[in-house]
Symmetry: none
Subunit: 386 residues, 2 copies
Amino acid sequence: MRPGERELRRARAYLNWVAEPPAPALSELVNEVGPVRAARLVAAGQVPHRVVAETSARRAENRAEADLSAIAALGGRLVVPEDAEWPAEAFTCFAMPVAQTDERWRAPVALWVRGAGRLDELGERTVAVVGARAATGYGEHVAAEFGYELAEDGFAVVSGAAFGIDGAAHRGALAAEGRTVAVQACGLDRAYPAGHQGLLDRIAEGGAVISEYPPGIRPARHRFLVRNRLIAAFAAGTVVVEAGVRSGARSTASAAAALGRVVMAVPGPVTSALSVGCHLLVREEQAVLVTRAAEVVEAVGRLGADLAPPLTTPRLRTDGLSPELRAVYEALPARAPRHPEQLVRDSGVPLHRVRSALPLLELRGLVGCGVSGWHRVLPDTGRGGA
Amino acid sequence: MRPGERELRRARAYLNWVAEPPAPALSELVNEVGPVRAARLVAAGQVPHRVVAETSARRAENRAEADLSAIAALGGRLVVPEDAEWPAEAFTCFAMPVAQTDERWRAPVALWVRGAGRLDELGERTVAVVGARAATGYGEHVAAEFGYELAEDGFAVVSGAAFGIDGAAHRGALAAEGRTVAVQACGLDRAYPAGHQGLLDRIAEGGAVISEYPPGIRPARHRFLVRNRLIAAFAAGTVVVEAGVRSGARSTASAAAALGRVVMAVPGPVTSALSVGCHLLVREEQAVLVTRAAEVVEAVGRLGADLAPPLTTPRLRTDGLSPELRAVYEALPARAPRHPEQLVRDSGVPLHRVRSALPLLELRGLVGCGVSGWHRVLPDTGRGGA
């Protein structure tokens, strides 16, 4: 462990625990001053009012050392954004405009992990398969098939390890000797549901069991909703196999949509209450209807090709832009903001189309808008922090 | 019969038979010079080359009189565009741009009809429910439900009278004592399929069995495809309940789309080969996914509001009724009398108020009272024709 790394890890562990996630004000503070300084300021109460509100209940107690010991005893680890293993690429979705403006969709401060798989690798080619706990035989059959075929196709299958659809999807992936990731809504010192202890152990063998919650934290209803955004973020697309009208799976679907992920739903008999949620997602145009794994790969692949050309090929950030979008992007100087009016001549694009092009470029993370106008957003570089 | 009407009807019968429909060149000729003159020109061979090509095989023989006698013997009639009963409003779809540029989508020259229903009324508020012959129990169940509920909601249910989905849809509508229309791909002197002779007779009681083909014409593969366009045209929307990858139901869906109709598909288990066609229609954005009759009504209604504002004003006969009057009116089946006592449960209105509601509805011309009880009064008709 490099000097300072122990301090960094302790700071992240403290920050991860001191506020119930997602904690938008604390996240901002960490981004601004780095985790080590943020941890000190929080502990001292020398933070803006909004951060105080998020952290006052727990700030006096520092369980970082105890939590790190507990995870080590479980054979696990704390993965922090400064680690090479951090799934940075998958988590760029937390910078989506919708995620930025909605406090629910914040990146985690750190992740507790148990398992042989590296998070960055697992997050590279990943599909979430989720659905009802009280699933039908049909639903479990389909979830297992999708899990199997996606794993065979090289996808890591991420889900929530619940009974029903989640469990069937994990088992399908394991049956194909593929990799699968379970995201828990409690500390990793317990298995949830307890009946899936064996399944979770098998998942950890080649994949990972992960949680935003430190050891000792119990599952609670609101934590499942918060957890669902991690499932959605971690995967390039989310498939809902069976869901009632109100269901956790639909909350995962909403998170996936907000984070710019592909949302897919599997149809079923219209006579089945457990397919109602899936049909609603399709009818409300929130999800693409999929009937087999190949269609999932196609839907996820298409987005991948459009939005995230693989790192290996010469990865021009402007690949895939229309000529007009590219012209507007290139008319923006690298280091200075501009107003739309100033881009017309250089880009050769009429003003009204410049105005509509800029938000599209923002969606792709290429430009941003500040007080003095629009500016290029440069690729994420040298990590800040401690 | 008015003078000249007999000649007109004979001319249409001849034209209807002399070319295998759809016969675009002949249609154009009829539109240009009228049916009587067109029939004379065709018989004399004094027509443009394209019309000769369509008519030369049969022009020397005139079976009009024989066909008209045959349909009369069956208790049926020939309905021609000059009749008040002609479903002119429904058939305006044949003037859609796609229909105009594609020779497959031409209006029929005349229709052979057996049944008590008037075509213009049947075509007013109509949904087609179609699907596979080799349907599953699930598909037949759903088709019957849709047929029943749509008929209860005042829709005529149109289909092709085939085994499987078609038959179930007709039966559902009949079970609701509603109106249903079967479109055949052969002359009405035979039932197709023969096993549905009884069903076709029941359909004719309150609805209609119709065909573009004169008596004596046998069903053939290409005639089913041509027939399917009539099903699609006659209905405001087409629901595909079950369909394989290649299927007649999908051809009806294509026709419906080309004619500007709403296309809907019912999902089913992804493990069922008979839902593959439905899922494809949704995936390819050719159909809206529907799971129950209310969604069909909504989809069809929305199109009605969007694309085809009624020529008069929103002319629901029940407009302006109080909720209670409406409930009592709607508790009356479309085609059967009821005593006040029998309306209490369905309407949810107490007996004494049902008793006072019925005369109010009678004042509005909506219901009448006969020997066997109260019955709905259908909109004014005044039948023309032979």
